[in-house]
């Protein structure tokens, strides 16, 4: 579905990403984790076609512009209502029935009752749902979410993950970055660990605990131990 091969990104002398390669299959929920500055946002931006890679390629039917994208900061028009935002992007995507697509997304994201409210008046959680909904309006085969829950309270986080989980169950490949390691443990089928632009680990959350020595049952402690062992 998505094939990342030998991806590198340089900003002048600084290497933000080095030789990143992995595949994502349909229905997978892949978490990209790592300390600040690891290159998570850069990686997702390249996969989503927002930023160009210095080397390497992202291939597959779900790569580049075809992927649904929800950046860390909601990319929505604050002066427009929820329905107007969805309607605009449905039309820009050239969907055959934009009104039906808007109704579907409103229902899927649970925003039907707020459809006529301007985004500027919504809570942070609902704004993020609109952000994700815009990424999904064209029914993409894959979705890239950059720290989608960073501004949400626990209840909002749980509702968002229920929604994202339902997408994965219908075959949508989901890549997301996060600092909430509990979410990785609870919802991700795979974790990719980045540090200083380098891919350190690619496997299931349980395998990450094992890779950290297996002694720690707490995922967050295991993750910290894993990084420490590798000098990060």
């Amino acid at each position: 579905m998505i094939s990342v091969r030998g991806l590198a990104k340089r900003y002048g002398e600084r290497e933000a990403l080095r030789e990143i390669s992995f595949d994502v299959a349909p229905g997978e929920l892949v978490a990209i984790v790592g300390p600040n500055g690891a290159g998570k946002t850069t990686l997702l931006s390249i996969i989503a076609g927002v930023a160009p890679a210095s080397e390497g390629a992202v291939e597959g039917p779900g790569a580049g512009p075809a992927i649904g994208w929800a950046p860390q900061q909601p990319a929505v028009y604050w002066k427009l209502s929820v329905a107007e935002n969805l309607g605009l992007f449905a039309r820009l995507e050239g969907l055959a029935d934009p009104d039906a697509a808007v109704a579907r997304m409103l229902e899927q994201t649970g925003l039907s009752e707020r459809s006529n409210e301007r985004v500027e008046r919504l809570s942070g959680g609902n704004r993020q749902r609109v952000n994700v909904a815009l990424g999904l309006i064209a029914d993409p085969p894959a979705l890239a979410l950059d720290e989608p829950t960073s501004a949400l309270d626990p209840g909002q986080r749980e509702r968002l993950w229920e929604f994202v989980g339902s997408l994965a169950r219908t075959g949508t490949a989901v890549l997301f970055s996060t600092h909430h390691l509990g979410e990785v443990r609870s919802y991700a089928t795979r974790a990719i660990v980045l540090a200083d632009g380098e891919l350190l680990f690619d496997g299931s959350p349980s395998e990450l605990i094992a890779a950290a020595g297996g002694g720690e049952q707490d995922f967050e402690r295991a993750f910290v131990a894993f990084l420490r062992e590798r000098g990060h």
Binding site: G64, W69, Q73, A75, K79
Partner: protein
């Protein structure tokens, strides 16, 4: 693109404060600039202290010129406020009631009549450096005009006195002999007497007097002509080298509309592009095939240019109700405004693309536009040649001066023609459009 244009118009409609500022601010600025330019400096309000006794005259030979004529000349150049004393005049200046005061001293007639010293008047004024400069310049001009008018009267009196000396007759002066002989009558009369005189010392003496009388007649006659030349040695004859003369008030309209066009267009275009980046929607729009970056820039340019065009045309039509404009040229107005709007729009999208956030874009647009407008209005000859060339170069690479010239050509038929300015504006549109595209290389 139409969906995006519709979205922007909807956002604009909902941003009432922004729309209000975008419309009211340029109109207010434009009107102020227009008024400042079109209102020719009025006559300065000046206190006059005339200490000369009523009816006092200056004697020029046998002629008399009333001192009050000088005051009359001065009054025609200023807005006079008569006060009775120097102290009252000073009080008037201090309170700001008058810009300055002119004191005509009691002895002015005696000094001028003496023929050895000039008459003098005293000018009082205060204020800050700019005000002083303005008042001094206005008063100097008014006093020069009054001096000129008064000196012409004195010259006329002097010429009349010389004329009487030459032709003779009654001087009309108390005690002067009636029916006096004129200088030009003396040589023929003398020659008639000399013809009957025997040769000798008396005849020689008479011949010397004859030669003197002839010489005096010729030279005094010449001095009469010289006097009129001294009064105004150089006459000014104005010739406009090229183009049609633009009346000041219609030029002020052109300036006002151009300034409005510029502000609305540049601010709107810059803000619209920067808002896409600030809302993080730029990357969402341009990363895929939703809209190309060029398409996005064209959409913002058309949005800003369209709004500014409508506003400027409405403004021109509105002002046309008060100032006489040639409505048969409305097609040319539209062409000038359209190309001006496109060039300003391109400058705006370039600023928006480079500035990356709305506040920075607005500030940059404002900081760039205002000085450029003022620079474009600097007249040649008011600054040094080198500085004027530098200003000309700056004005050439930004659209304001060309837009102003295009609109002046469209409204007033001024030179250079509309075609040259429109081509220049189109070139600038392409240049700033390309710059904007460079600014959108990064989507984040």
């Amino acid at each position: 693109m139409r969906w995006l244009l519709g979205k922007d118009l909807l956002i604009l409609r909902r941003s009432r404060l922004l729309v209000g500022v975008l419309v009211v601010y340029p109109i207010a600025i434009a009107l102020l600039i227009g008024l400042a330019i079109s209102r020719a400096p009025g006559k300065p309000r000046v206190a006059i202290v005339d200490e000369t006794p009523p009816g006092q005259t200056i004697r020029v030979g046998s002629e008399h010129v009333a001192v009050s004529r000088y005051a009359d000349e001065l009054f025609s150049q200023v807005q006079p406020v008569h006060v009775s004393s120097r102290e009252q005049a000073i009080a008037g200046i201090s309170s700001g009631d008058v810009l300055a005061a002119v004191v005509i001293p009691r002895d002015i007639a005696a000094r001028i009549s003496s023929g050895v010293s000039q008459g003098s008047i005293e000018v009082l004024y205060n204020g800050n450096a700019l005000e002083q400069s303005l008042v001094q310049s206005q008063l100097s001009s008014a006093l020069a005009q009054a001096n000129l008018g008064f000196s012409e009267q004195i010259q006329r009196a002097a010429a009349q006195a010389i004329g009487l000396l030459l032709t003779g007759g009654s001087l009309g002066v108390l005690g002067a002999p009636p029916n006096m002989v004129g200088l030009d009558q003396i040589p023929p009369a003398l020659r008639a007497i000399i013809a009957h005189q025997p040769l000798g010392a008396e005849r020689t003496q008479l011949e010397r007097i004859d030669r003197f009388a002839e010489f005096a007649d010729q030279n005094l006659g010449l001095s009469k002509d010289v006097l009129s030349t001294i009064g105004q040695p150089i006459q000014i004859k104005s010739t406009l080298i090229h183009g049609r003369r633009t009346p000041l008030n219609t030029f002020a309209v052109v300036v006002a509309v151009s300034v409005s066009l510029m502000f609305v267009c540049v601010l709107l275009a810059a803000g619209a592009v920067a808002l896409e980046r600030e809302d993080h929607t730029l990357a969402r729009l341009a990363r895929g095939a939703l809209i190309s970056r060029e398409g996005l820039l064209v959409e913002k340019l058309l949005l800003a240019a369209g709004c500014a065009f409508v506003l400027a045309l409405a403004m021109l039509a509105g002002i046309g109700a008060f100032v006489s404009l040639d409505w048969s040229r409305i097609g040319q107005w539209a062409i000038a405004l359209a190309f001006g709007a496109l060039a300003f729009g391109a400058l705006g999208v370039a600023i928006g693309a480079l500035a990356r956030e709305v506040r920075a874009a607005s500030l940059l647009a404002f900081l760039l536009s205002l000085p450029l407008a003022f620079l474009a209005l600097v007249p040649s000859g008011s600054v040094s040649r080198g500085l004027y060339d530098a200003i000309g170069a700056i004005s050439f690479v930004f659209p304001f001066k060309s837009a102003l010239q295009a609109l002046d050509a469209a409204v007033n038929g001024a030179s250079p023609g509309l075609g040259i300015s429109v081509v220049h504006l189109f070139g600038l549109t392409l240049v700033f459009g390309a710059l904007a595209r460079v600014g959108l290389r990064r989507l984040e």
